[in-house]
């Protein structure tokens, strides 16, 4: 019986991220539109879009290989697994032993690798340029991301997300400059990875500076729907990571009674919505960067995260 309950809690988390992801995207679009003095599409528009795309015919190029057809599902599967492993409303769920920060970074890297290959598969110029830029951004963002992982893991003593969240939520770890720096670096990395504004504009389809949209330009129908869903899941995954690493309050920790779970669910949704409102506010305040400035932007993230690790070495252990 207990096993069934644990399994149910984990299944709830898996479904929760899947259901919530398009809504988060819808909220960011709505807020952004309102900030630009437009009415904007309704918040549930991404669900309608996905439904529509699911029922459209998928058009394939003549020279598309099996890789091109398999990639959307691979990307979606990897992203969904990663998003479902990040603790959302409770820690120590059934599969939390496998929810390792480095494993999640690796899952996302796998999805990105597959998508870059698919972008080059058909042989159009846009797909190639998108793939090459995506790889450039990844090579700059991943070192910063891993340093963030190290600094968090050094404080908590583990890379397992569930344990980190439990440590940060319960024990008083004091004021840490390192955590603040890690948060800044993590936000930079999240912006770059999710193709948000200073790095890439998610709202355009035909622009020479686009990165993510250039790779998926050839996709249509159900393939596109799956890729869009994966992109929404990825955004939600980064939001959940911020919630679980830097503001892990309200999560159900030791006792999993109905009350704590409902409290955890409510705080989780509040956190996600707050981030979904903050992101477009930040986006409307700044302009898109030139491609040649990406290394400086992500170099700033790298410097902040490296500094976070250094500061940890001064403060305690030695």
């Amino acid at each position: 019986m207990a096993v069934m309950l644990d399994l149910g809690a984990q299944a709830l988390q898996m479904l929760l991220v899947l259901v919530l992801a398009p809504l988060v995207l819808g909220v960011t679009r709505k807020v952004r539109a309102r900030l630009l003095r437009r009415v904007g599409p309704p918040t549930w528009q991404p669900y309608i879009d996905l439904w529509k795309l699911m029922h459209k015919e998928a058009v394939l190029a003549h020279n598309a290989s099996w890789l091109y057809r398999a990639t959307p599902y691979l990307v979606f599967a990897a992203t969904w697994v990663a998003a479902a492993l990040v603790p959302t409303y409770a820690v120590n769920l059934m599969f939390s032993w496998s929810a390792d920060l480095i494993a999640i970074v690796a899952l996302l890297a796998t999805a990105r690798f597959a998508l870059a290959l698919a972008g080059m598969d058909v042989g159009t110029a846009f797909g190639g340029i998108g793939a090459s830029r995506e790889m450039m951004i990844a090579s700059l963002a991943e070192p910063a991301m891993l340093l963030v992982v190290f600094s968090v893991a050094l404080i908590a003593g583990t890379t397992q997300l569930s344990a980190i969240a439990a440590t940060f939520a319960d024990a008083s770890i004091g004021l840490r400059v390192s955590l603040g720096l890690a948060l800044i670096a993590f936000v930079f990395v999240a912006i770059a990875e999710n193709a948000r504004i200073p790095i890439d504009n998610p709202a355009t389809h035909l622009e020479l500076t686009m990165v993510h949209e250039a790779m998926v330009l050839e996709y249509s129908g159900r393939h596109l729907a799956v890729i869009e869903a994966a992109a929404a899941l990825k955004l939600l995954l980064y939001f959940s990571l911020i919630g679980c690493l830097f503001v892990p309050f309200g999560m159900a920790t030791a006792d999993k009674s109905t009350d704590t779970i409902i409290l955890g669910l409510m705080t989780y949704v509040m956190k996600i919505l707050a981030l979904a409102v903050l992101l477009p506010i930040g986006e409307t305040a700044i302009a898109k960067m030139r491609v040649f400035r990406y290394p400086i932007f992500l170099g700033g993230a790298f410097a902040a995260s490296a500094l976070a690790v250094f500061l940890l070495f001064v403060s305690r252990s030695f």
Binding site: G174, L175, V177, L181, A303, F310, L311, F313, S315
Partner: protein, 223 residues
């Protein structure tokens, strides 16, 4: 000493180091001046916190001097100089930001590796402050050699002095006379710098110090 005391000291000194990196990274002149003022404020807060922890009220005077002179007077004066020179909208060509940041990180690592083993038998607070202070000093020096604009070089020099004050307060009790004389010498240096900047400008129509290269003695013979 409660752990939170140490954490706040760590936070304030650490934020000074972070602001040193901001200085290194920033390429707009007015933003550099604002970051410098912020660093001075962080310094004065850090010193005031030390005064509280060490129970040394004289340090409060140091904090006050740092706040008034370096947090308000010098940044305001620099803002006015920049405005009068007409370069307040200028974006400075920072010499390759990426390698500079990496060098800066290397310097931070170096200063920590130097200080941490040396000060094994002093209090953790002094050790930490010393490590941060050395890093701030080295980053200020790095800023001085990577900038071409005379005004931002002055800011680099001033941030070196911020590091010195941080080191002195962490080391339990620098005489107040020394602190006040340092503050005044900084003011004097600042006035000399101000005059110097206007002289450079008068002669070369720019405050870019690379214009001075042609007039250096050792190269003049070959040209």
């Amino acid at each position: 000493m409660p752990a939170i005391y140490l954490d706040v000291a760590h936070l304030l000194a650490g934020s000074m180091l972070v602001l040193s990196f901001v200085l290194l990274y920033q390429d707009r002149i007015t933003a550099v001046l604002n970051a410098f003022a912020l660093q001075a404020v962080a310094l004065s807060l850090s010193v005031a916190w030390q005064a509280f922890i060490q129970d040394a009220p004289l340090l409060l005077v140091t904090a006050g001097v740092a706040f008034v002179v370096k947090g308000i007077v010098i940044p305001t004066a620099l803002h006015r100089i920049v405005r009068r020179l007409g370069i307040h909208r200028e974006i400075e060509e920072v010499i390759s930001a990426g390698p500079t940041m990496l060098t800066g990180l290397g310097l931070v690592a170096l200063s920590m590796m130097l200080v941490l083993p040396v000060g094994e038998n002093v209090s953790i607070l002094a050790r930490e402050d010393l490590a941060f202070a050395l890093a701030v000093i080295l980053l200020g020096l790095l800023m001085m050699i990577t900038r071409r604009n005379a005004v931002t070089q002055i800011v680099g020099f001033m941030s070196v002095e911020n590091g010195l004050v941080l080191a002195a307060t962490g080391a339990k009790g620098m005489p107040l006379v020394v602190e006040i004389s340092v503050a005044f010498s900084i003011l004097i240096a600042f006035i000399v710098f101000g005059v110097f900047v206007f002289r450079i400008r008068e002669r070369f129509d720019t405050v870019d110090v690379s214009a001075l290269d042609r007039h250096r003695g050792e190269r003049g013979e070959h040209v």
